[in-house]
């Protein structure tokens, strides 16, 4: 497991919260500003059904943390999350967690 970020935003979410997202194998994290974070998630199953389940949990997490941290998210294709981060390198994307 990798833990790179130690920012306020990361502590506001935390590993236990991210692990709740069904099927998540990698989470990439981009702090945007104080109290705002953008997640990029890779799921084990590359299907709409898997995304649908993940979204249900992400919506719950957003509501739990609302007013504390603004959470945005998107999905990465399996095994290409690193590429996605390279594309975003100028936007300070960082690896947060690998759950495999």
């Amino acid at each position: 497991m990798n833990e790179v970020s130690g920012t306020t935003d990361f502590r506001a979410l935390g590993e236990d919260v991210l692990k709740r997202v069904p099927g998540v194998v990698e989470v990439w994290y981009r702090p945007e500003s104080e109290g705002s974070v953008e997640l990029r998630l890779e799921l084990a199953d590359d299907s709409w059904e898997a995304r649908e389940q993940a979204i249900d949990e992400l919506v719950r997490i957003r509501l739990e943390r609302i007013g504390e941290v603004s959470i945005g998210y998107s999905f990465a294709r399996p095994h290409v999350a690193e590429d996605a981060v390279l594309e975003q390198s100028t936007r300070s994307a960082e690896r947060v967690h690998s759950f495999v």
Binding site: E32, S47, I55, F75
Partner: protein, 153 residues
Amino acid sequence: MEVHEHLDRHRYHLEIGLTLAGTEAGHAWGCVAAFYSAYHAVKFALRRDERFDDLSALKAINAHLQPDDRYAEWHRARKGSNRFGISELVALMYPAAAGPYDKLHQASIEVRYQQGRLHLLPPADRLESYLTQVYDIVVGTAVKDSVHADTSE
């Protein structure tokens, strides 16, 4: 944009979305139209929702809510801003609609910014179901005791 115009745009995108959904060439953009149909239904609901006229009612929902949040334009709180975006307002004001709304949003993102692969998009029947859920919940909550199509203020 006037309040009723959001409902007009909801209907326009709805018609386009449901026409394209399920077609070989158009399903992906049907997903985008479906999301924007939901977006305008939410915008309509926020503008009509009387809870925004009552500061104590808003604060009972969330201490950070403000009357002007009914005019939110951004999908999510902007960088450096403490104001809510539409997705967050849906979660706060119409929590039962947040799941289907986010699913429509993610499908739209997949089409607009990713590869738009069909296996990563909801099938047509589910797309329509999400949209129906969002509309019924947000407009039904905001416009109580009225026919949903009633745009009178």
